[in-house]
């Protein structure tokens, strides 16, 4: 048995020794990535397909360059595709060594061209799981358990190459599957609202964000808006991630763009295909569009504000406007600077 990221005993030890005090954790995204994301790290990528993925964080990682990463997630979309793209363009600057995943594609927007490119050319190591498996592996990590049982996908070929173990249940004598915990080095999480201590309030599906954060050694959170602590704790039942699970919190409006941030902006149905088409062209041998995309939107800007500035204003207004009838639910005061 091998562990990627931290082993359960290492993860416990690390957290036991960690400062869990309630303190202001604001820092720049640049510093956060410098401080917490290292070459060779296992990164837990939060969000689900193209929704609430940590796009701002991933763009910053790509700008700084990180190598030999392991990416762990259930279903990812553009966040993982961006990292694949960076590797395709220059694997001396950015590279993925391994993915532990259930799915990489974009649902209505199509398959992931660069997953095809990288795997069909044997450039990365894969470990396939189901969505529930990856979610439960993070959950086991968050619960401080070395493994968690699961009833799917027993009978699947996935089990031939992943680390799941089948044993007979000592209570029922029927076979059951045991999933090893996942403890990434760093969780990358985008939420709608956070306070300066790192408490996060997620609206809409939680995906596996709380579990990924609590399982990981470190967590970087970007939020569409920072709110007053008192507005956060006025609704304690709505705190999705507790502050002591978070190391750095950065206000990054549109930090999940061009994906969906429930209650704030919908998928950009123009920009996602624009990026995906460049990836598809790369897969088919045409490098320039992907290079141009990265030069324009990632390497050519300093941060997410500059990225968003390159998107036509009416396109941004459109994704805000079509976010379908759901607005963030709770009263709040946006934190002044």
């Amino acid at each position: 048995m091998y562990w990627t990221g931290l082993s359960p005993d290492e993860a416990r030890q690390f957290l036991a020794n960690k400062d869990k005090s309630k303190r202001d954790k604001r820092i720049s995204l640049k510093e956060a990535v410098q401080k917490y994301v290292k070459d060779g790290d296992n990164l837990g990528i939060a969000g689900f397909v193209d929704a609430r993925q940590p796009i701002a964080i991933v763009h910053e990682i790509i700008r700084q360059g990180r190598k030999d990463l392991t990416l762990s997630y259930q279903s990812a979309g553009i966040a993982a595709e961006y990292l694949c793209g960076a590797m395709c363009l220059d694997d001396n600057k950015n590279s993925i060594k391994r993915m532990e995943l259930a799915y990489l594609a974009h649902e209505a927007f199509g398959i992931s061209p660069l997953l095809r490119y990288l795997t069909e050319n044997s450039l990365i190591e894969m470990e396939d799981w189901s969505n529930y498996n990856m979610s439960a592996r993070f959950k086991a990590g968050a619960m401080g358990l070395p493994f968690i049982p699961c009833r799917s996908p027993m009978g699947s070929d996935m089990l031939q190459t992943n680390r799941a173990i089948i044993q007979d249940c000592p209570f029922t004598n029927r076979p059951i599957m045991l999933l090893p915990a996942s403890h990434p080095n760093v969780a990358l999480v985008h939420v709608q609202e956070a306070d300066i201590y790192g408490n996060c309030r997620i609206q809409g599906p939680l995906f596996t964000c709380p579990e990924i954060s609590m399982a990981s050694a470190h967590t970087i959170v970007t939020c569409d808006r920072l709110i007053e602590h008192d507005d956060m704790v006025r609704f304690p039942n709505r705190v999705s991630i507790p502050y002591f699970s978070v190391d750095a919190v950065i206000e990054v409006p549109y930090g999940a763009y061009p994906g969906n941030s429930n209650g704030l902006y919908y998928y950009d149905e123009k920009h996602i295909p624009e990026f995906r088409d460049a990836c598809e062209k790369f897969r088919k041998g045409e490098r320039a569009p992907l290079q141009e995309y990265f030069d324009n939107y990632i390497f050519g800007v300093e941060n997410t504000t500059e990225f968003i500035n390159k998107i036509p204003l009416n396109q941004i207004q459109h994704v805000e406007k079509i976010e379908p009838g759901i607005r963030l639910e709770s009263a709040h005061t946006v934190l002044g600077s």
Binding site: V49, R116, D128, R151, S152, G155, G204, P205, T208, E269
Partner: protein, 268 residues
């Protein structure tokens, strides 16, 4: 007497067949794509009490804000009756709250096993697939733990294969007695396979795929010809009732007007 549509695409036909297969007041775990369209169509016709569940966390939302582009998108969450995350959705399923799961795949074998992981040799060629597919997502979990599953497929000989390259989502495995139970699964397995050409089920004894109905324009022979393995053909195969004008109108005008999942043209 309903008015039948005289102009529909194979994908629209699938959606209609999927919709009609659903039973009112049942809990249906929705895979991405055509299943979402079929559930919405059923809710708008005979199944207003159908309760959709989405793997990203939403249970029982109203799907009245436009077709979701993703099972994790905002449109799956409007007026949801429960809304946590992936673990909660799959735990509910594992517990037994989901009557049906509605999934797809790239390849299927006679026992309803599905492949959505890779084409090529496995496990030897795992790190050098011929074609890498997106991966399981939640389909394999639904296939194992929903009480029954409904499978939606494009009907091509290469997709219906006696032996598939990789079992992502288990059906009846090798078809041996109680194979699913012995493997540790809790759900009962595939209920229907709905394709661009036919509605199929599974033989109670052998667990091999059997033809139930042919879709408009198809015959027993044309279906068998498009299937890469031998289908069981019972005596009571019947022609499936064509889509009604109203069903097609709902798909085109109300549910997927932009053609995200129900493309205007389809290969095969």
């Amino acid at each position: 007497m309903p008015k039948y549509s005289e102009d529909f695409t194979p994908q629209e036909m699938i959606v209609v067949a999927g919709s009609r297969t659903l039973i009112d007041n049942k809990v249906v775990f929705a895979g991405t794509g055509l299943p979402m369209v079929a559930i919405t169509l059923a809710q708008l016709t005979h199944g207003p009490g159908i309760v959709p569940v989405f793997e990203a966390g939403a249970v029982g939302p109203e799907l009245s804000r436009g077709l979701p582009l993703s099972v994790g998108g905002s449109r799956t969450t409007y007026k949801a009756n429960y809304l946590l995350g992936l673990n909660s959705a799959f735990e509910l399923t594992q517990r037994g709250f989901c009557d049906f799961g509605f999934i797809g795949g790239a390849e299927i074998d006679p026992y309803g096993n599905l492949n959505s992981t890779m084409l090529g040799s496995y496990p030897d060629g795992y790190n050098k697939p011929k074609v890498r597919l997106p991966g399981s997502g939640g389909a394999s979990d639904m296939a194992c733990s929903c009480e029954r599953t409904i499978i939606i497929m494009v009907h091509e000989p290469r997709r219906f294969s006696e032996k598939i390259d990789y079992i992502t989502s288990p059906g009846y495995l090798d078809g041996s007695p109680n194979a699913r139970w012995r493997a540790g699964m809790v759900g009962q397995g595939p209920y229907r396979v709905i394709t661009t050409k036919a509605i199929m089920g599974f033989d109670d004894e052998t667990k091999r795929m059997k033809l139930i109905a042919t879709l408009p324009g198809e015959t027993v022979e044309s279906v068998q010809e498009a299937t890469g393995f031998e289908l069981i053909i019972p005596d009571d195969v019947y022609p499936f009732e064509p889509p009604t004008v109203e069903e097609i109108r709902l798909i085109r005008e109300v549910i997927d007007p932009l053609g995200y999942f129900v493309k205007k043209k389809i290969k095969g």
